[in-house]
């Protein structure tokens, strides 16, 4: 996974969701992630309802299905945190792991399965959000959702210079690799693990000094052009009728799903 290939999460397309205001999409994705947490373990019908919601989002985005599925695997490593519950949650034993003698309970399996399903569905919707919204539109959306201006401005600058600083970091890594850190076939060379960590530390320190000095130059250049501390975002767009429609449908659907899941 490479963070330096920024913007690649955005997948150009023509679906309806592409034309919906980023604010609406962010609110729906966050609301969905919260809404699905209220579902009790093992309430499969409720999960099916949330799944239908995700399917609707994927459908209206017209994103390639394989792309959405492939990107949704990102949270999988974290499953290790929930996995032991299969064996520790008391309940009817379904099977016992040979040699180790761990007993898997029905309740444990249902519980872990529900956690995985919640996580997967929420990640799927987040994948749809980031795949059909340009990163800069996401950041502008945050600003228009009344995020404090200082924070929105900071995120804006961070995104603007992510490429620049990232490239600089990448050059440092390439220079190091050329000199010492990795041998052929991914082997290591040049000192112990701690030595290698310290070398990386020097590189991080160097990157910090360069970044700070760059930020000073940027600030001076901005001051000379009349910057007064307010980051201005252009194109203040009002929500169109389509945006309100999508928001209304999503809120009603999520509200209904929450009520169905809990009552």
């Amino acid at each position: 996974m490479s963070y330096f290939a920024l913007g690649e999460r955005y997948q150009h397309g023509q679906g309806l969701l592409y034309r919906v205001d980023p604010r609406v999409k962010i609110v729906i994705a966050v609301a969905f992630a919260f809404a699905i947490t209220v579902v009790h373990a093992g309430h499969w019908q409720a999960f099916a309802g949330f799944g239908a919601f995700v399917a609707l989002a994927v459908g209206t985005s017209r994103l390639p299905l394989w792309l959405v599925l492939r990107r949704s695997l990102i949270a999988l490593p974290f499953a290790a945190a929930a996995f032991p519950l299969i064996f520790t949650k008391p309940g009817d034993t379904i099977f016992t792991v040979p040699l180790l003698g761990w007993a898997a309970s029905h309740e444990g399996l249902v519980h872990v399965g529900s956690i995985m399903l919640k996580s997967w569905l929420a990640v799927l919707l987040a994948v749809v959000l980031t795949s059909c919204t340009r990163p800069l539109d996401l950041i502008r959306g945050l600003e228009r959702l009344r995020l404090p201006r200082v924070l929105a401005g900071t995120i804006f600058f961070m995104y603007r210079y992510l490429h620049v600083i990232g490239e600089e970091g990448h050059r440092l890594m390439r220079a190091r690799d050329a000199r010492s850190a990795s041998g052929p076939d991914g082997g290591k060379s040049g000192g112990s693990v701690l030595w290698r960590a310290r070398v990386l530390g020097s590189m991080v320190g160097s990157l910090f000094v360069r970044s700070l000095e760059r930020s000073e130059r940027i600030y001076a250049a901005m001051q000379s052009r009349g910057y007064d501390g307010t980051v201005r975002f252009s194109n203040e767009r009002r929500l169109a009728r389509r945006d309100w429609g999508v928001l209304l449908v999503a809120v009603l659907a999520l509200g209904g799903l929450i009520i169905y899941a809990r009552f």
Binding site: F4, A5, I26, A29, V30, A33, F34, I36, T37, A75, A80, A81, A82, P84, T88, I115, S119, A122, V123, P148, V150, L151, T154, I155, F156, F157, M158, V164, I165, G166, G169, H170, L172, M173, G186, K188, V193, L194, R196, R198, L200, G201, S202, M203, V204, G205, L207, F208, V209, S211, L212, E213, S215, E216, R217, I218, A220, D228, G229, V231
Partner: protein, 235 residues
């Protein structure tokens, strides 16, 4: 550009679905309260230079997290950076920076969930900055700010900050009923006790570099007065 090696996982970016509604909500509220204070304090210190300065430094932390060193068996380690940021620019500015890093990672790169974002920012950005800064100040204060104490203090701050983040993550998972205290706590603390050594050595190495090249930056807020032209700092 694809980084050549798989990174040693720092299992601190909680995905959605792993925290209960209450835990996620409570940590959102705590995080918003902490950030409100941090934003006010940072804006007071840096005035109108806040957004450009903090933004570029957030990009720095983001990039620093992507830089790695080979550990063993084809894996590599990298840093989290909360404690280092707090040592370099102070705890309040560090909170703002880390909140932006963790927030963008969740929203744009899907590293960490959206409903659990409050918890993730608190664990990786706010707790690491506060605890890391406190440990650093305690050690350097004890040693009157001499170089060895600065480096030891940085190492200790970074190690403790990773352990605190791991503890908070485990506690949130356990309280949410997603994991058992008895399993998740020793596992997470055990793994992160080792990862924390990497964090500590990288952070101390970074501070050693800054001490050697720009000692004025440590503990001193950069002067952005009108008389200071950026050119003076360019080497």
């Amino acid at each position: 550009m694809v980084l050549p090696m798989p990174q040693l996982p720092i299992l601190l970016h909680i995905p959605d679905g792993f925290l209960s509604t209450w835990v996620a909500t409570v940590f959102y509220l705590i995080t918003i309260a902490c950030l409100a204070v941090a934003i006010r304090k940072t804006s007071e210190s840096y005035q109108e230079s806040t957004a450009p300065l903090m933004g570029v430094l957030a990009a720095f932390i983001f990039a620093a997290q992507m830089m790695n060193f080979p550990v063993a068996g084809g894996t590599s380690g990298h840093m989290l950076g909360g404690a280092l940021a707090a040592i370099l620019v102070g705890p309040w500015a560090a909170m703002v920076i880390m909140a932006c890093v963790v927030g963008v990672q969740a929203l744009v790169f899907q590293d960490g969930g959206l409903a659990v974002l409050g918890a993730n920012i608190f664990n990786m950005g706010i707790a690491t900055a506060l605890v890391g800064f406190a440990v650093y100040k305690a050690v350097t204060g004890f040693g009157n700010g001499k170089r060895p104490f600065i480096l030891v203090g940085t190492f200790a701050a970074a190690w403790v900050s990773v352990m605190v983040a791991a503890f908070l993550t485990s506690a949130q998972l356990a309280v949410s009923g997603t994991s058992d205290w008895g399993i998740v706590l020793p596992a997470m603390l055990g793994v992160h006790a080792l990862i924390g050594i990497g964090e500590g050595v990288i952070s101390a190495g970074a501070v050693a570099f800054v001490l050697a090249t720009r000692p004025d930056l440590l503990g001193i807020t950069p002067d952005f007065g009108d008389s200071t032209l950026a050119g003076e700092h360019v080497r």
